[in-house]
Symmetry: C2
Subunit: 180 residues, 2 copies
């Protein structure tokens, strides 16, 4: 991904933050992470992240999603004997988010996934999050999510984030920041 | 504090949340904690809390403060050999907050504290937080804060909250939720 494309997506993410009255400093706006999952199709598979804090005890960030952007299926595995893996709470601030977790598959789910990505989605228990709704994802459990037609902002509160430890169902995905 | 007074302050806190576009469910609005610190002077010393999540790893809440409301000086002591005490990150969402931490006292600080409460304020190193600004308070260090003339909302991201462990400089203070 070209740095000009990254900058464009960052600016677009800032516009979404403004819509939700979420303030960010100019330096933070420039540091918004564009996660394209290595599939080079960020409009469909990817998300934008504003990380407020990530220390050895807790982490907080905003996940900014454009309309129908999806974060592919993954889990946060155990990291040590003392760390059972990242636990995270998603709280919707803007728009609508369709979150899929382990459990009974939901008939007629709201997500709209391009055919080529469906083979790597194995959990279909749907949680719909609207502003003020939240859900906590247990460590080491599979999940994926997609924003609705208007895009979304999700506040994520969690234990320490160690992105490079994430395990994705799709073997083609690599979770590295796209900052060139 | 009478339950009618608590309900009134809760409603007032919800109005502040609306001003900042922070969504909360009806159930959450009813569960907003009014912390009056046991001094029975909540307009001056107290704050309102909307706790999103508090589990054994992390905690996230909104601190809602009316104009010039202050949270009295305290620290979060070590809780065990493995837990050095609560660490917290304050991020201002609305209004202005004057945070005081250990360090060189700031000349002409912005806080306006009623005379009777000044004797229990020992740290005067000022950090001014405006929307988008944040500051992380190390475990077991003294701090207190006051909202500016317009009130404020502060998002607090932290390790687990164990309020009853907090140590206040003013011996008259007890940190218990006021829900009757």
């Amino acid at each position: 991904m070209k740095s000009t494309d990254v900058a464009k997506l960052q600016r677009r993410a800032v516009e979404v933050l403004k819509k939700a009255n979420v303030s960010a400093t100019p330096k933070e706006c420039e540091s918004i992470e564009v996660a394209d999952s290595g599939l080079n199709d960020v409009e469909n598979v990817g998300l934008e992240l504003l990380v407020y804090e990530n220390n050895d005890r807790y982490c907080a960030k905003e996940l900014i999603m454009f309309p129908r952007q999806m974060c592919p299926e993954h889990r946060h595995p155990p990291l040590s004997k003392a760390n059972v893996g990242k636990q995270e709470t998603f709280r919707c601030r803007l728009g609508e988010v369709y979150l899929y977790v382990e459990g009974n598959p939901t008939p007629s789910p709201k997500a709209q996934v391009p055919e080529k990505y469906r083979q790597h989605l194995t959990v279909w228990h749907e949680i719909v999050l609207r502003p003020g709704d939240q859900y906590t994802i247990k460590p080491n459990t599979l999940h994926w999510f997609q924003a609705g037609d208007q895009g979304a902002i999700v506040s994520e509160f969690s234990s320490t984030s160690v992105d490079e430890a994430d395990v994705f169902t799709d073997p083609n995905i690599r979770r590295v920041p796209v900052i060139e």
